[in-house]
C-alpha cells in the first residue's frame, strides 16, 4: 500500500468518523485489480477499502450531482476531478459547503485495455516512473513507455493537481499548458475531407449519451437533446451532427478538458477534438489563457468592446 493510499484511508476514515462528511467518494476494489471502481464509503470500514493507484481511472466529480447522497460529501480529487468540482460549483449545481475536497497529484492513469494489449496479459499492478510505466502481470514486471499505457485523456492533461483542496495527500504540482495539436492537424485538411472525417465518426454514434453522462459540464436538469423539438429520437447522420454540434457548443467555454466524454464513448468518437477546437479558438480569439479552467465569468457570458470578429478571417484556422 502506497503512503498516499494509507493517508487517504486514514483521512477518509477521520472525516467519516468525525461526521465532517457523510460519504466519501473515491476508488475501491473492482472485479479486477486493473479496474478499481468508483467507491462510496459511508463508514470507516468503507474508507478502509479505498484504493489509490495508477489504475484509478474514471473522474469522480459528477457523482456529487447525485440526488439523495447524504451530505456533506468528501471526494478524492485529482486535477481533472478538481476542475470538475469547480465546474459544478461555478454552475451552482453543488454548493461549496457540501463538498470536502481531498486533493491528490496525479501523473496519469493507466488504461487497463492498453495495458492488457501491451503486456499481453491481465495487468495486476502498475507503477509510474517518469516516462515509463512498470506493469506487473502473472508473469512478472516489465517496463513500457508512458504514452502506450496511459488513458489518452491523461496524455494531454495539463492539470495534475486540483487548484485547491481542503486537504492534500501530497504536494500539488503547478498546472501546465494545454496545447491543441490535433485540432490544427484537422484544420489543415480541406472542407470536404474534414466533413468526411466527421461523417465517419458521427455515423458510428449510438446516441447512448455516455459522453453527456460522463461530463461534469453537462448536467442540465433537463437536457435540450432530450427535447423532441431540438432533436427527435431518430438516429441519422444529420441528427448526430446536431447532437455533437450542440453538445460541444453547450460545453464551449465550460469544458474542463478532462476527456471523460471521449473515454466513455463506446464508439470511440474523438470528442475531445470538438471540445478542443472551441477551447483553442476561445484562447486565440478572446485571450483566455486557460480556456478549460472554470472562471468567474464564462467566455461566452461576457464580451470585450473590441472583441475580434472571428468569422472575418475565414477558414477553420485563426
Amino acid at each position: 500500500m502506497s503512503e498516499r493510499e494509507s493517508r487517504l484511508r486514514s483521512l477518509a476514515e477521520e472525516l467519516l468518523a468525525s461526521g465532517q462528511v457523510r460519504t466519501f467518494i473515491g476508488f475501491g476494489p473492482g472485479y479486477e485489480p486493473s479496474r478499481p471502481l468508483p467507491w462510496f464509503a459511508q463508514d470507516p470500514a468503507g474508507a478502509a477499502q479505498l484504493l489509490l493507484n495508477p489504475f484509478c481511472g474514471a473522474t469522480l466529480a459528477r457523482y456529487l450531482l447525485d440526488d439523495g447522497s447524504p451530505g456533506p460529501v468528501g471526494v478524492l480529487a485529482r486535477g481533472c476531478d478538481g476542475l470538475g468540482i469547480e465546474r459544478l460549483l461555478a454552475d451552482r449545481r453543488v454548493s461549496r459547503d457540501r463538498v470536502h475536497v481531498v486533493g491528490v497529484t496525479c501523473r496519469g492513469a493507466v488504461d487497463p485495455d492498453k495495458a492488457y494489449r501491451e503486456a499481453g496479459d491481465t495487468p495486476l499492478s502498475a507503477e509510474l516512473e517518469g516516462e515509463r510505466v512498470l506493469l506487473t502481470t502473472a508473469s512478472g514486471t516489465r517496463e513500457f513507455p508512458r504514452a502506450s499505457c496511459l488513458y489518452d485523456r491523461c496524455l494531454s492533461c495539463a492539470d495534475p493537481s486540483p487548484r485547491w483542496a481542503d486537504d492534500w495527500l501530497d504536494e500539488p504540482l503547478p498546472p501546465g499548458k494545454r496545447e491543441f495539436p490535433d485540432v490544427a492537424g484537422l484544420e489543415q485538411q480541406d472542407a470536404d475531407r474534414r466533413y468526411a472525417f466527421w461523417t465517419r465518426q458521427f455515423s458510428r454514434c449510438l446516441r447512448c449519451h455516455a459522453c453527456r453522462q460522463a461530463c461534469p459540464a453537462c448536467h442540465c436538469v433537463s437536457c435540450s437533446l432530450d427535447h423532441p423539438e431540438w432533436l427527435d429520437g431518430g438516429i441519422s447522420l444529420d441528427n448526430n451532427f446536431m447532437y455533437h454540434f450542440t453538445r460541444a457548443y453547450h460545453v464551449a467555454g465550460r469544458c474542463i478538458a478532462c476527456g471523460e466524454c471521449q473515454q466513455a464513448c463506446p464508439a470511440q468518437i474523438p470528442l475531445m477534438l470538438l471540445n478542443d477546437k472551441f477551447m483553442r479558438d476561445i484562447r486565440d480569439l478572446f485571450g483566455v489563457c486557460h480556456p478549460h479552467r472554470p472562471q468567474e465569468k464564462e467566455p461566452l457570458g461576457q464580451f470585450c468592446p473590441d472583441d475580434p470578429e472571428g468569422w472575418r478571417e475565414g477558414g477553420a484556422q485563426p
Binding site: R92, R93, V221, S224, H227, E229, H250, L300, G301
Partner: protein, 651 residues
Amino acid sequence: MPRTGVFVCWCGINIAKTVDVEGVAAASRSLPGVVHAETYKYFCSEPGQNLIKEAIWEKRLDRVVIATCSPSMHQATFREAAQAAGLNPYLVQIANIREQCSWVHSNREEATGKAVALVTAMVAKVRRDEPLQAFTLPVNRRVLVIGGGIAGMQAALDIADAGYPVVLVEREPNLGGRMAQLSETFPTLDCASCILTPKTAEVARHPLIELLAYSEVREVSGYVGAFTATIARKPAYVDWDKCIGCMLCQEKCPRKTPSDFQRGMGPGKAIGVNFPQAVPNRPVIHREHCTYFQTGKCQVCARICPVDAVDFNQAETTQEKQVGAIVVATGYEVVAPDQFGEYGYGKYPDVIDSLAFERLNSSSGPTDGVIRRPSDGAVPKEVVFIQCAGSRDPDKGKPYCSKICCMYTAKHAMLYRHKVPDGQAYIFYMDIRAGGKRYEEFVQRAVENDGALYLRGRVARVYPEDGRLVVKGVDTLSGQNVEVFADLVVLATAAVPSGGAPGLAQALKVGTDEHGFFNEAHPKLRPVETLTRGIFLAGSALAPKDISESVAQASGAAAKVLALFSREELLADPLVATVNESHCSGCFWCRPTCPYQAIEEKALRDRQVATVNAGLCQGCGACAAACRNGAMKLRGFTDEQLLAEVNALCL
C-alpha cells in the same frame, strides 16, 4: 390544432403585381391548421379589417396570419382589429411579403414561392403563439431625484409643480451642487448665487418636495412604477430638527480648517455650513477636522448651542422610500489634482484649478471676491489659464472634451480683467469650442474687450523662478516655444463623474461608460432615459454640461417622468422572457447576458432557479440563447416558434 386564417393582401398592385396572391392563398389552404384563406386589395383599410373580423367570427378563427407589408407598418393595426373581433392580439402574425418580397423581387414565380414560404413559416409560428395579456404595472406616482444640484433641483421643481411628490436626495449637507461654488456664469455674467438661491429656496419650501440632505442612496430594487430605494442619512452630529440655524457653533468653533467647498482654501471650521445662504441652513461636524472627535476634548459647539442640538453620538440612519421613477442628477467633479505633476499642481500653491478660481472670484469666497493668489495673497498681474488639463488627453484616460472649460476660462479671463484692470490673462488652448447661444460672442468679447491673450498649444511644464511661475509651452500656430511668467496658473481640469456615481450606478443597475458617466438609452433619440425603464438622467451625470443644458435636460427628464405619471398603470409588453422552472438548472449563466438585470433567483424545494422580473425585461432574448436547455423562453420568439419557422422555411 388551432384554426388559422390567412389573409393575403394585394396592397393594390404593390404586392399583387409581383406575387400571385391568389396562388399564395390557395397554397396556404393546405397548410396544417389553416381553415380559411382569402385575399383582398387593402386589408389595412376599414373594409379590409372588417373582412378579417368577420372571418374570425364566422370561421371561429383562433389564429391569424396576414401576408402584407412589414410588421413595422401595420402589425399594430391588425392586432387591434383582431382584438376588436375578440381574438387575443398576440395570436396575429404578419408575413412580410411587400418590403421583403414583392418590392425586391421581379420574377413572379420566385416572389410567389418566397411569399408562400413566408406564409408557411408564419402559420407554423402563430400556431405556437399563446394568448398574452399586456400586463399592467401600477405606478407609484412619487419620484426620487438623486442630486441636489441645478439639474436635480430643476427636475424636482418641475415634477413637484406638476403635482407629484418628490424625494430629493443630496449627498452634501446643502443644495446647490457645483453651481453653488461658482461666482458668475457665462455668457451673461449673472451672479451664480443670485440665480441659484431662489431655486434652492423654492425647493426648500415646496410642499411636495421632501429634501433629504447629507444622504445617499444605497440600494434600489424593483422596477418602473415600483422602485424601493434605501437611503442612508449620514451623521451630521447635529440634530437638525432642534437646530435653529443660528450658526453660533460655527462662529465659536476654535478649529480653523481648509474647506473643501473653498477648494482647500480657508476659512473653514470643523462645524458649520459651506456658505451663508446654504439650504438647508444647518451645520455639520466634519469629523476628520473636529478636535473632539480627534482628541476627545473641546465640545465648544455643544456648550454654546442654545438649543442643545449638537449630538456627538449621532449615527447613520437609513430609510426606505417607495417611488415610481428615479431621476439621476449626480453631476460632476473635477479630476483629482494629483494627475497634473507637470503643471506643479499641489507643489506650487499658485497653481490652482478653475473651481478654486471661481472661489477666489466669489464674494463669499476666501478672499471675499478679490483675486489674490494663495501663496502670499498678492494680486496676480499675470495669470495663465491652461485649458484641457486632463481633457482630450487619452494618456490621462480622459479622451473626451469636458465641454464647459472653454467658456468658463473665457469668463475667468474676463472677470479677472474686470477686477485687475492692469492684469494680463494668457490662455493656452487646443481649440476654442464655443457652440451655444451667444457663446462665441462671449469668447470674442474676452479677447477683444478684455484683452485675453489666447495661445494655441500645450503647456509642457510649469516651474517656479524668482517667486513667479514659468509656464513653458509651444505656440502651435507660430511653432515657437513660449515662456510666460505668471503670478497665478489656473488649470481648467477635466470634468469627471461625481464620486458617488459608480456605487449608485451599481445600486441602480444602470450602465455607465468607461469613464463612469451614466449611459443614456440612445445617444440621440433617448438622451434622458436609461435602459432601465423608469430611471432617467439629467445634467452632468451623463457627460459634462453647462447650466442651461443641465436645466433643459432636467426639464426633459421631468417631462418623461410626468408622461409616465400621467397614467395610474403602465402597460408592459408581454413579449418578455419567462422561465420553465422544471427545466432550469439554476446555473445562472443567463444572468450576465441580461442588460437589464432582470434575472432574479427563486428558491424551489431542491434548488434555486432563475426567474424574470417582467417589469425590467425588455424582451431581447439574449438569456434565451444563453440557456442551454431551453428553460429560458422568450415569449413570441420561443425556441419552438423559431425552430418551426426554420423548419417551414426550409421545406
